[in-house]
C-alpha cells in the first residue's frame, strides 16, 4: 500500500504537502500556546479560591472556638451570680454573652474578600 502511495507521488504534489505540514505545525503550536494560557488562568483562579477557603476555615474555626470559650465562661458566672444573688455579676455576664452573639463573625466574609485582594494581606490568628 505504501509503495502504491509513493508511486502516486508527483512533483506537483510537493508544495501541497509542504503547505499542509506547515499549517499543521502552526496549528499545533497555536493550540499549545492556548493550552498554556488556559492553565495559567486556571492556576491563578484556583489559587485565589483555595486561599480564600483556607483563610475562612482557619479564621472561623478559631473565632468560633474563642467565642464558645467566652460564652461558656460567662455562663459559669451566670450560674454563680444566680446562686449568690449577685445582680451586677449576672447582668454583666449576660451583657457579655449578648455582645458576643450580636457581633456576628459572618459579616467578615465581605471584609475578607476585600482584604485578600490587597497585596501583602496577612491574617494573624
Amino acid at each position: 500500500m505504501v509503495s502504491q502511495i509513493v508511486a502516486n507521488l508527483g512533483a506537483a504534489a510537493a508544495p501541497t504537502l509542504i503547505q499542509s505540514i506547515a499549517n499543521y505545525m502552526a496549528t499545533v503550536e497555536s493550540e499549545e500556546t492556548k493550552r498554556q494560557e488556559i492553565w495559567a488562568h486556571h492556576d491563578a483562579i484556583v489559587h485565589a479560591l483555595n486561599q480564600e477557603r483556607d483563610v475562612i476555615l482557619a479564621y472561623f474555626n478559631h473565632a468560633f472556638a474563642e467565642r464558645r470559650l467566652v460564652i461558656e465562661q460567662c455562663f459559669d458566672v451566670v450560674d454563680k451570680s444566680m446562686h449568690a444573688n449577685d445582680h451586677e455579676g449576672l447582668s454583666l455576664a449576660l451583657s457579655t454573652i449578648l455582645g458576643v452573639i450580636h457581633d456576628n463573625p459572618l459579616k467578615d466574609f465581605e471584609t475578607f474578600k476585600r482584604r485578600m485582594s490587597e497585596p501583602g494581606f496577612e491574617i494573624v490568628l
Binding site: 499542509s20 493550540e31 477557603r53 468560633f64 460564652i71 449576660l94 452573639i101 459572618l106
Partner: protein, 295 residues
C-alpha cells in the same frame, strides 16, 4: 510505531476520557457538598426547636414578672423596662409569624426549620457554585469533535471530507493523504486544547464547591452557637423560676421592706428572671446571618 491518523484519533478519545474523569470528580465533590448542606439543615432545624422550646419559659417568665405588678422603676436598683417586658411577651407571636402558623397546634418540620433559618439569606442545601457542570463548554464540544471525526465534516483541516472520501474509496493521492493525516492531527490537537479548557473549568468549579463548603461550615458554627446559647439561657431561666425555699425571717424582712418603702420594687428573684428572659428573647431574635436587621 505511531500511525499518524490514529494518533490524532487517539488524542481526541483520550481528551474525551480526561474530561469524563474530571466531570465524575466534580459530581462526587458536589454530592459531598449537598450531603453536608443537609447536615447543616439538621442544625438549622435543631436551632428552630431550641427557639420554640424557649417560648414556654418566656411565657412563664412574663407571667411571673406581670404578677409582680412592676413597671419602670427608675429609682430602684432593679429597673424593669415595660418595653422589654412587652418584647418578651411578643416573642411567641413573632415566632408564630415565622412559622406561618400556630405554635399551639404543633409545628411541621418545615415550620420549625423556618424558625431556625431566621436570618439566613439563601436556602441551605441548594448548592450555589458559580459554574454549573451543564454550562461547561468543553464536554459538548468534544463530543462534537468526535462526531465530526467519526464521519462528519472535518472542517478543521480543510481536507477532512476529501480525506475521508479517499479513505473510503481507497484512492490515495498525496493531497488526500496529507489531508487525512493533518486533519486528524489538527483535530486531535484541538480536542486536547478543548479538553484542557473543560478540565480547567471543572477544576475551578471544584475549588468553588470547596469554598462554598467552607462558608457553609462557618454558618454551621454560627447556627450551633445560637442553638447552644438559646438552650443554656432557657435552662438558666427555668432555674431562676424554680421555686426556692425562703425562710420565715427573710419573708418578714421582704414584707417590711415593701411596706415601708411603698415602692413596688421587684424582689431579687423576679429581677433575675427578668434579666435572663430579656437576654433569651434577644438571642432568639438574633439572625443567623448579619445582613438582616434584628426585629
Amino acid at each position: 510505531m505511531k500511525i499518524p491518523v490514529w494518533n490524532g484519533i487517539r488524542k481526541t478519545i483520550d481528551a474525551k476520557n480526561r474530561v469524563k474523569e474530571a466531570e465524575a470528580d466534580y459530581r462526587y465533590r458536589h454530592a459531598h457538598y449537598v450531603a453536608f448542606a443537609d447536615l447543616v439543615q439538621v442544625d438549622v432545624y435543631e436551632l428552630g426547636q431550641a427557639r420554640v422550646s424557649a417560648l414556654p419559659a418566656l411565657e412563664q417568665a412574663s407571667q411571673i414578672i406581670g404578677k409582680a405588678r412592676m413597671g419602670d422603676h427608675d429609682n430602684t436598683p432593679y429597673q424593669i423596662s415595660t418595653n422589654e417586658l412587652t418584647k418578651i411577651e411578643q416573642q411567641n407571636a413573632k415566632l408564630t409569624a415565622l412559622a406561618g402558623g400556630s405554635l399551639a397546634s404543633g409545628l411541621t418540620v418545615g415550620a420549625v426549620s423556618a424558625i431556625g433559618a431566621y436570618g439566613i439569606a439563601g436556602a441551605v442545601g441548594v448548592a450555589s457554585t458559580g459554574t454549573a457542570i451543564a454550562s461547561l463548554s468543553g464536554a459538548a464540544a468534544t463530543n462534537a469533535t468526535l462526531a465530526a471525526l467519526g464521519g462528519g465534516a472535518l472542517a478543521a483541516g480543510g481536507m477532512g471530507m476529501a480525506g475521508g472520501a479517499a479513505l473510503l474509496s481507497g484512492i490515495f493521492t498525496l493531497p488526500a493523504l496529507a489531508g487525512i493525516v493533518v486533519g486528524a492531527e489538527v483535530i486531535g490537537s484541538r480536542a486536547e486544547k478543548k479538553a484542557d479548557n473543560d478540565i480547567a473549568n471543572i477544576s475551578i468549579a471544584n475549588a468553588e464547591v470547596d469554598l462554598e463548603m467552607a462558608k457553609l461550615k462557618a454558618m454551621q458554627l454560627r447556627v450551633r452557637e445560637l442553638r447552644a446559647t438559646t438552650i443554656k439561657l432557657t435552662e438558666s431561666l427555668y432555674e431562676a423560676m424554680r421555686p426556692r425555699k425562703i425562710n420565715w425571717f427573710m419573708r418578714i424582712i421582704s414584707a417590711l421592706k415593701r411596706l415601708f418603702t411603698r415602692k413596688q420594687a421587684p424582689d431579687e428573684r423576679i429581677y433575675q428572671i427578668y434579666l435572663i428572659a430579656k437576654s433569651l428573647s434577644s438571642v432568639i431574635d438574633e439572625p443567623v446571618e448579619p445582613q438582616q436587621e434584628r426585629a
